[in-house]
């Protein structure tokens, strides 16, 4: 049988459902974001781990110019090596029917006998190319989907200068291309980048690599030294044009997923605690008020002989019932959203299968933490029940003591009416509650600032990257270094308005014990299409000696202007040189190091050569130009800045709508809940005051003004605080996003502050107006004739 106290609990809950729901929703948001973030994190990580495990994703990746096949026998003897898989890897321009812009393909070899040892393919449909067939290809699924390709479809590819028609025989996925980014792209564009797997024999003949390979991946035994294996592999490959091996953590696809995982981890650490904190204080406020209202009942129960702990447990139960509702909503919402997010990831990242993590532990943890927070919030209020002597409980409380506030003596306060004074004194009389309400609303503002500032930062980055720095329309990359005169060949292509050469060379930079493998870009001193920008984003004229380092590189090597850096070129004659840092510049993407083109060529001890050319073209002659480029044998890739920007914006737009909706919902829940709760409690405390005012002849609007004045002041105080907290959170986000792949500039526009403030203000005012309706419906006589 239900005890009478539980019956009371049930009825109290129904009576307070508005406040209870407000608190439960705030809790649910905390629980849901925790389950969502942790669930998606684990799903993504476990899916990746399982994919890597089942399809033997390699640990080390290296390239060379041309290494003899027998070198594999030595590579496998590197201490700690478990397996090695040599292969051919080349770029090719793809000519796809109906697509003016050439796409870029990464061509990879498949062993003609047996399977791939590492980075195995998941064959979605069809089959692998038959040994020796130069016209058969298996392509990656996302590329096939982007073009509607299926087994039997054909397209043309320029393989080592010769255009061939390739027939798709299979569609596959590879653990190396979970995040498939084309050369020179910022964001994946599946229509412009494809991975092509072909027979090794076929590629050997196409690329004149009989009995040789130019790429190798390595799997290490558990506990093997990765650094040592890389060093030995570099030594082995060096005579064959090795350009330095990289570890898994620097493999592009892997590193991007790491970045995503880091964001989810950050989300699970920052957002749920905000909600738990806010809900704990809402519980405290609500329960304190309920207990104050029920003093007499508590006294009566004690007088009747109920134990004080039993009565305390009754009120604690009230908070736990609210918590249970919050947790239940949070479980459902978190599971649903987590599933949705994981599916979204599956769309963006290319996995052959998805593992949804359904760990019960995260449910237990989130429920436990929420219940703890609620109990902590309830503790003080519940304890007051225990200590209340029955005799005191049954006599009405003395009127709330107020005092004059020091600042009232200031002249400005003379202009305020008594109604305003009521609002001000009430706020100051309950400083903790006022403080928490301000903090709650401020956190809601900060949550919005933290999510919307990303748009400002990304817009700034777009402006800096696409409109101030890399202003070229496209970049044409050659299969290997070309003599300088290729620049004139490009300039003569139809529609080319301007062309600027670049020479990329892989190198290891060393300063003290710090070193980094990257590419040095040589450019003519005063380029105009692709410009180098200083820290204030002003164009830089490259000095004819010295190195210009991007900020991130300078950080990684811990160097300043004037410091010497050792350079070890990883190709050609492998020269070693020490050069001073002449300038540190701004760079948001990748690890940038620049040199004057002539100085670089001189250092390399080579005749002047070019690896790519930036071009500006006349859009009217686009088709002619691309047709001409597709016919150039030496071109391996063409990256279009315009297409990259368009794709970037498209992807951003998709994500931003979802992100905006989620964060607005979360912020509105906090702002609405906090203000609603605060207003309801204020109304409950002041119902007699408000009724008195009505009897004295004040209108409904005038009476509501007392409550609304207080809320407006609280909101106005909360907004600047929220902006400051948001600024801090945003700074944390920026720092946590920073990686070798990209940095995001820290920009928060005034619109972001304004929009965040307006959303929260609207939510707060809406909830206050809902409570205002209760003032309008006040039963004056009942309010005035009941004893407090």
């Amino acid at each position: 049988m239900i005890s009478l106290l539980d019956k009371k609990l049930f009825r109290d809950f129904l009576r307070l459902w508005g406040q209870a729901l407000a608190i439960a929703l705030v809790m649910a948001s905390g629980v849901a974001t925790l389950i969502l973030a942790v669930g998606a994190y684990r799903s993504l990580e476990e899916t990746r781990a399982a994919y890597y495990e089942r399809y033997r994703f390699a640990d080390i990746f290296a390239t060379a110019k041309r290494a003899p096949a027998h070198l594999k026998d030595r590579i496998i003897t590197i201490p700690g090596a478990a397996a090695a898989d040599p292969r051919i890897s080349e770029f090719a321009l793809l000519d796809i029917e109906g697509m003016v812009h050439p796409a870029t393909g990464m061509v990879r070899s498949l062993p003609d006998h047996g399977e791939l040892i590492l980075n195995r393919l998941y064959l979605r449909s069809g089959r692998l190319p038959e040994p020796g067939r130069v016209d058969e290809v298996t392509v990656n699924e996302s590329f096939a989907n982007a073009h509607g390709f299926r087994a039997g479809s054909t397209f043309k590819a320029i393989l080592n200068g010769r255009k061939r028609t390739l027939r798709i025989v299979g569609i596959a996925l590879s653990p190396e291309f979970i995040y498939a980014l084309g050369p020179g792209d910022f964001i994946p564009d599946d229509s412009r980048f494809g991975v092509l797997w072909m027979s090794q024999k076929a590629l050997e003949s196409i690329f004149d690599l009989e009995g040789a390979f130019n790429s190798v991946t390595l799997k290490l035994q558990r506990g093997a030294s990765e650094a040592e294996a890389i060093r030995q592999l570099d030594d082995l490959l060096e005579p064959y044009g090795g350009t330095g091996a990289i570890a898994r953590k620097d493999q592009q696809s892997h590193a991007f997923i790491d970045g995503e995982l880091k964001q989810l981890d950050g989300m699970s650490r920052v957002i749920p605690p905000i909600f738990l904190l806010v809900s704990a204080f809402m519980i405290n406020m609500t329960l304190s008020r309920l207990i104050a209202l029920e003093r007499e009942q508590i006294g009566l129960l004690k007088a009747l002989g109920y134990g004080r702990w039993r009565i305390a447990a009754h009120y604690l139960k009230m908070s736990l019932v609210i918590t249970a509702v919050g947790i239940a909503i949070g479980f459902v919402a978190g599971t649903w959203l987590g599933h949705g997010l994981t599916v979204m990831y599956a769309d963006f990242f290319h996995f052959p299968f998805l593992i949804f993590h359904r760990g019960w532990d995260i449910y237990v943890i989130s429920a436990g933490v929420t219940a703890l927070a609620a109990t902590a919030g309830a503790a003080k209020a519940v304890y007051s029940v225990v200590t209340l002597p029955p005799a005191v409980a049954m006599s009405p409380p003395a009127p709330t003591g107020y005092a004059h506030i020091g600042i009232e003596r200031l002249a400005v306060f003379k202009i305020y009416t008594q109604l305003t004074m009521m609002a001000l004194r009430h706020m100051i009389r309950w400083p903790v509650r006022t403080g928490f309400t301000i903090l709650g609303v401020a956190l809601s503002v900060s949550l919005l600032v933290t999510s919307f500032f990303m748009i400002d930062s990304v817009e700034f980055m777009i402006d800096a990257t696409f409109f101030r720095s890399d202003r070229q329309d496209a970049t044409v990359t050659f299969t290997d270094e070309r003599p300088f005169r290729v620049l004139q060949d490009v300039e003569r292509l139809p529609g080319v308005l301007r062309a600027e050469p670049i020479r990329n060379t892989p190198a290891r930079l060393r300063h003290g014990h710090l070193h980094r493998k990257l590419a040095i870009q040589g450019k003519p001193p005063g380029t105009d299409l692709s410009r180098v920008l200083d820290l204030d984003l002003n164009p830089v004229v490259l000095a004819d000696s010295g190195l210009i380092l991007g900020e991130k590189v300078a950080d990684l090597l811990n160097v300043n202007v004037g410091d010497d850096v050792e350079i070890e070129v990883l190709e050609g004659k492998r020269v070693k040189r020490t050069l001073p840092v002449s300038q540190i510049i701004q760079s948001y993407l990748g690890l940038s190091v620049f040199m004057d083109l002539d100085a670089l060529n001189e250092m390399l001890d080579e005749s002047p050569s070019v690896s790519s050319v930036h071009i500006d073209y006349d859009t009217a002659k686009l088709e002619e130009l691309f047709t001409a480029i597709k016919g150039l044998p030496a071109v391996s890739a063409i990256a279009s800045q315009r297409a990259a920007l368009a794709k970037f914006r498209e992807t951003l737009a998709q994500n931003i709508y979802i992100m905006t909706a989620v964060y607005i919902t979360l912020s509105v829940i906090i702002a609405f809940g906090v203000v609603y709760n605060s207003a309801r409690i204020q109304l409950s405390e002041r119902v007699r005051e408000f009724a008195s005012l009505r009897v004295l002849g004040f209108t409904r609007a005038e009476v509501s003004r007392v409550m609304l004045t207080e809320l407006v002041i609280l909101i106005l105080l909360a907004i600047p605080l929220g902006c400051v907290i948001g600024y801090g959170f945003a700074k944390l986000v920026i720092v946590s996003f920073e990686s070798d792949l990209y940095r995001i500039p820290f920009i928060i526009s005034s619109q972001t502050y304004a929009f965040s403030s307006l959303v929260v203000m609207a939510a707060a005012i809406a909830s206050a107006l809902i409570v205002r309706r209760r003032i309008d419906r006040l039963d004056l006589i009942k309010a005035l004739k009941t004893r407090e």
């Binding site: 003395a398 009127p399 709330t400 003591g401 107020y402 005092a403 004059h404 009416t417 008594q418 109604l419 004074m421 009521m422 004194r425 009430h426 009389r429 007699r688 005051e689 009724a691 008195s692 005012l693 009505r694 009897v695 004295l696 002849g697 004040f698 209108t699 409904r700 005038e702 004056l780 006589i781 005035l784 004739k785 009941t786 004893r787 407090e788």
Partner: protein, 235 residues
Amino acid sequence: MREPLFEVEGLTKVYHSGDMEIHALRGIDLALYEGEIAVLLGPSGSGKSTFLNILGGLDSATSGHVRFRELELTSMDERDLTQYRRKHVGFVFQFYNLIPSLSARENVGLVTEIATDPMTSEEALGLVGLEHRLDHFPAQLSGGEQQRVAIARAIVKRPEVLLCDEPTGALDSKTGVRVLEALTSVNEELGTTTALITHNAAIRGIAHRVFHFADGRVGRPKVNKRRVAPNKVTW
């Protein structure tokens, strides 16, 4: 006698509670005159509070008429009733209903802000003998003092009518007398028509006329030929 301030004809009030009909007033006819103190006596549930609330514009009638001078209260809407209370009526309740966050002076000042020709808060508090407690907050005042602040707040706008519902109900005899003194002195000095509900028969002596309420009806008023000074009243 002077002009009637209130004229009440056939006033009824029926409350509905579920299927039950509660007849709080079953046809009241009476008049209150300018400047008089009327004491309304009667047991709980006799309808006197309902009657006072309708006079004060806090409640509406089911049928009948209440005229305040030329105003027909029974046909006024919520907005007009608010204006009516604002301009003409002062209320005093058993539980003083002061604003705890405002001092005595400010509680009274609340009304001066919305009245057309008020006296000053200090004058009003002087009338009830609280000139020395101006800046005290309700929590710092005794029950009797709080009730006198409530009276000062009710009369500061010089209302034509003062409606008091059990003003001494929560007070002891000695403190209650101070409150009654405040009410009679306001009546004498400002000529405010005062209707006072009590179930304490001892108080009837201070009235000009006494009305007995029973079961939603009112008997013929009894005129006090000789009024008793408040300080002679005890209970």
